[in-house]
């Protein structure tokens, strides 16, 4: 009996891309320095980067410059080109290095990719995946540390996923690439090194499905991406308080698995929503409102939210660490419900 293969979140992304690019030649990858050293194959200087976060290493070598395309610093141009490629038969994966850069290219996602199907009366598919990096914790300050997935979730026509581990990263990226709608795939920078068993064969994890990361009976802690592990650590700590916490890992931000969230809260009667995003009109408020509207009769107390503060992400390390929601804040908020 062989031991299970363990790879990192980063490698899971590479593998999902490699397998889908082998399986379907319509799948292409484009973005800034997804290879690196563009045009220098001859000098053997190409694929110097494999992406700013090194998730694409080996893809250029295997698939070449027709399928792995480095772009100029022109997010509106290449994201728009990805939209144009998607509506004409390709299945592009476009990288937006940091989600914070969406401010220079949101139109192609918001008004074009998201609405093309609807505005044409359903006469076109937009099989576009935008892979982007979210979150704080790497000392890059206000312009490189936001979450912003609530922007994408707000827009009808977009699907949004935020995997919390390598296994789901591979399954959700595979599903995103095979999906006929535009999908925003959010990678939290701090998760890239996380590793666990990931099957070698291709598989899809369904978009729109959450999971119970830890069963419990007294309270439901709801997280996504990084905050799922925050909830799990809080749940562990709450054991000492005699509280048996259930943890829901959303995985998909849009569509949201309302059933899993609601049935858990109906069982436990208490909810704490944990999100690294800003509090106003963010994911936490969205989930809290869902619960307040549809599980009210089962609630034993207010719906708690633990989020980042309404402030830009500060640079200074101690401030940045205090900025991000941690297990102790989740525990404290939970205890207020008992």
């Amino acid at each position: 009996m062989t031991t299970e293969r363990v790879i990192t979140f980063r490698e899971a992304i590479t593998e999902a891309l490699r397998l889908e690019m082998r399986r379907d030649e319509r799948v292409i990858l484009l973005g800034e320095d997804v290879a690196g050293g563009a045009g220098r194959q001859a000098e053997g200087l190409s694929e110097a980067w494999g992406g700013a976060f090194a998730e694409y290493k080996g893809l250029f070598a295997e698939f070449g410059d027709n399928r792995v395309l480095d772009t100029p610093i022109s997010e509106m141009g290449y994201l728009g080109a990805a939209v144009g490629a998607a509506i004409t038969g390709l299945r592009p994966v476009a990288e937006l290095m940091f989600v914070d850069f969406i401010g220079v290219c949101m139109d192609q996602l918001m008004n074009q990719a998201a609405f093309a199907r609807y505005m044409s009366g359903g006469r076109v598919n937009v099989p576009l995946t935008m892979l982007t990096h979210v979150g704080a914790g790497v000392g890059m300050a206000a312009q490189h540390s936001k979450m912003l997935y609530s922007f994408f979730a707000h827009i009808p026509g977009l699907k949004v996923v935020a995997p919390s581990s390598a296994y789901h990263a591979k399954g959700l990226l595979t599903a995103a690439i095979r999906d006929d709608d535009p999908v925003v795939f959010c990678v939290h920078k701090l998760l890239l090194g996380q590793s666990e068993h990931v099957p070698e064969e291709p598989y899809e994890f369904p978009i729109g499905k959450a999971r119970i990361a830890r069963p419990g009976s007294d309270v439901t802690l709801i997280g996504a991406a990084m905050t799922t592990s925050v909830c799990l650590r809080a749940a562990k700590a709450l054991e000492a308080d005699g509280i048996d916490a259930e943890v829901v890992d959303l995985l998909s931000i849009s569509p949201l698995d309302e059933e899993t969230v609601l049935s858990s809260v109906r069982r436990t009667g208490r909810a704490v929503v944990v999100d690294e995003g800003f509090p106003r009109c963010g994911l936490a408020a969205d989930v809290a409102a869902l619960i307040a509207g549809h599980a009210f009769d089962h609630l034993d107390g207010p719906v708690k939210m633990v989020t980042a503060p309404h402030a830009p992400v500060p640079f200074s390390r101690p401030l940045e660490l205090a900025f991000m929601p941690g297990p102790e804040r989740v525990r404290a908020a939970t205890l207020e419900l008992f």
Binding site: I28, N66, R67, L69, T71, P72, S74, M76, G77, Y78, L79, G80, A81, A82, V83, G84, A85, A86, I87, T88, G89, L90, P92, V104, D107, Q108, N111, Q112, A116, R117, Y118, M119, S120, G121, G122, R123, V124, N125, P156, G157, K159, D179, D180, D181, P255
Partner: protein, 334 residues
Amino acid sequence: MTNIGPDNRAATAPPLNEMLGLYRTMVLIRAFEQRFATLVLKGTFSGAGHLCVGQEAVAAGVCAALRNDDYVTSNHRGHGHCLAKGVDPDEMMAELYGKATGTCKGKGGSMHIADFRRGMLGANGIVGAGLPIACGAALTAKLTKSGRVAVAFFGDGASNIGAFHESLNLASIWKLPVVFVCENNRYGEATPVEYALAAEHVADRAPAYRMPGVIADGQDVLDVYAKAREAVSHARAGDGPVLLECETYRYFGHFVGDQARYRSAEEVESFRARDCIIRCAEQLTKQHGVRAKQLEDIAADAEGRLDTAVAFAESSAIPDAAEIMTDVYSEVRR
């Protein structure tokens, strides 16, 4: 291919049947726009209506240089582009009426008419947004070796937005088979091009992207057609993108209802005096001996075509209320 101005006309005129085709297209576009304007003013339907009356030669001349399976992206002033690319007037009119039989089931309207069967990838409500999308269609053509070409129609005002810059640079370094067709009608809304554009011609910007820049007389369908053919074959041959600027004019305001107080009556007259349809009619009669009667028939056919289109639209059903929630995603949610 080299930068040639409106002064030196494209030498050889096309055969009569092609000229008649160009003429028919222009007449149909104008008839469509005039009918549309009447309906808007009557309050038949809501929304913004941007007429391309005066600019018909650009849509007709460029699209005549394209294959049926070539791609076109358009802007907010897109009726002419659609008709020239072969979109069905019945479905277009039904779309403007917001009917279920419209090109977009009535969900898109004037600024979003699309017909993927005709390679019409969509009009667009966002200035400049069609250019990157055309690059993407051209990328598909290049990677799949389909031999197709993409054309992006946009205005003089759009040449000052970032998407223009990024698209031309991207198309150039990737040698994409795309032709950027700028309809310089001298205004972006109420703003004169000489105020907003820090260049004499939009085509002057082509060298900044190592791209041929060509200027055509947008009031002369033959000049547009000849230069568009040259640009399209350049792109199709794999020699990269071309920026084709067509000097033209919109006879009416920016939208139906705009009084256009930002320009002089003389200016309007000077362009009407060089009307693309009248000019083509003269060439047909004088040079090809086409009889006036035949031209009248073409005009009558166009009007007849529009009567049918309006009848079709008016007799069509409005979309079912459930349509609000369909086509948001590939599968219907919940």
